[in-house]
Amino acid sequence: MSRFFKKRFLLGLVAIVILAALVGISVTNRKQLTWPEQFLKDSIGFVQDVFQKPAEAVVGFFENISHIQNTYEENKVLKKHLDEYTELYVRVKELEKQNAEYKKLLGKEASLTDYDRINASVITRNPDAWNDLIMIDKGETDGVEKDMAVITADGLIGKVKSVSQFTATIQLISSRDRTNKITAVVQSDKRIFGLVEGYDEEKQMLVFQKIPAENKVKKGQMVVSSGLGGVFPRGLIIGRIQSVELDSYGLTQTAFVEPAANIYDLNEVIVVKRKLPAGEVEQ
């Protein structure tokens, strides 16, 4: 009996040491996954995708049925918007043309706002939700790199955490990870720069911290990425300010930002590849 327990005890001890070592290695901010990790991730991701696609089709079918019920009402609203849209489209085209001409005059080719898109579909999501991760079906061979921004049509949803050859893992903006920071700017008359850092799980809102108290930010103002630092382009929509609180010393204020994109309903996402390389950033 005692020998039996000794063996168990020893086994447990060895296991704990191995656990500590593995966790220690994993937690350090690694630039790249090792190739066995990449290979396994790609293989598991591939099979997961086979599961995901038919399930998605079935869910999509039922969603479509429920959408049909509201079609008439929605159509009315959309028709109203369509006229405004045409007007806006013409203006944007005109502005784009002007912008291109000015750029040519200045001799600049790429600016902070320019980016290429890599379309990807979601393979899976972390079920235990301690760290909000999703996996997409595009990887290094498609040009995805670590720390790139990931958006949907509505706005920013996260950034690339790690890349394999054919898949990539994305950390959503709702993650509480300390490294999850986005340099952002509030769109008002004056540009107010700051850092979106952290997520309030109770309010389900992003926390936009350390805005100097003399800068007035209001509810409803848009927060977009500033493109300073990292590889995010400028002008990706993050969300709208919902409430502003003064910090305890009254020197800075904290704004709560409601994400523009729905981070709980993700099927198709876009990985954003900035045209201007990092390190060549100017204000």
């Binding site: 656990l19 396994l40 598991i44 899976t124 991760l133 993700l266």
Partner: protein
Amino acid sequence: MIRIKHIVLPILLAFAFFLEGTFASLGAEWLYGLEETLVPRFLFVILILSAIFLESRLTYVYACVFGFFYDLMYTEVIGVYAFAFPVIVSIVVLLMKMFQSNLFVVALVTILGIIILEYYAYFMFSLIGYTEIEHDVFLRYRMLPTLAMNVIVYLLAFFPMRRLFLFLQRRSEQT
């Protein structure tokens, strides 16, 4: 010697593993979108049932392997679940040596197993710095809803799984 249970069990576990991911990504709106967080633990429930009704040693090995896959795909911290799954399953098996394996008793030890697993994950991810939620918030908004959902999963899985595992065990003993 390779027996039929050596083939069926990994296929079953792989199915539960992939189903969990797909379920999480398509059902995210009501699993995580509300204040409550419900964590599907299909794989873990089936591991416990397999350890009780099929063969515990074989299950430990697969618990470690699938825990490793789980870490690789979802937590990106290797070792968290690869360690937890076999250890907690073996605790459950140790407990089951004292009891009869009927629906009610197995339900109790399964619930206990999930409680240990959730607390362990909470502890580990607090340590690593992935989360900072308070204990009472964790208990109210994560532990209780998760338990409720997985008890339903357990009730749905118990009879078909027990039947399958006992059948596999008999077949393996015959040949």
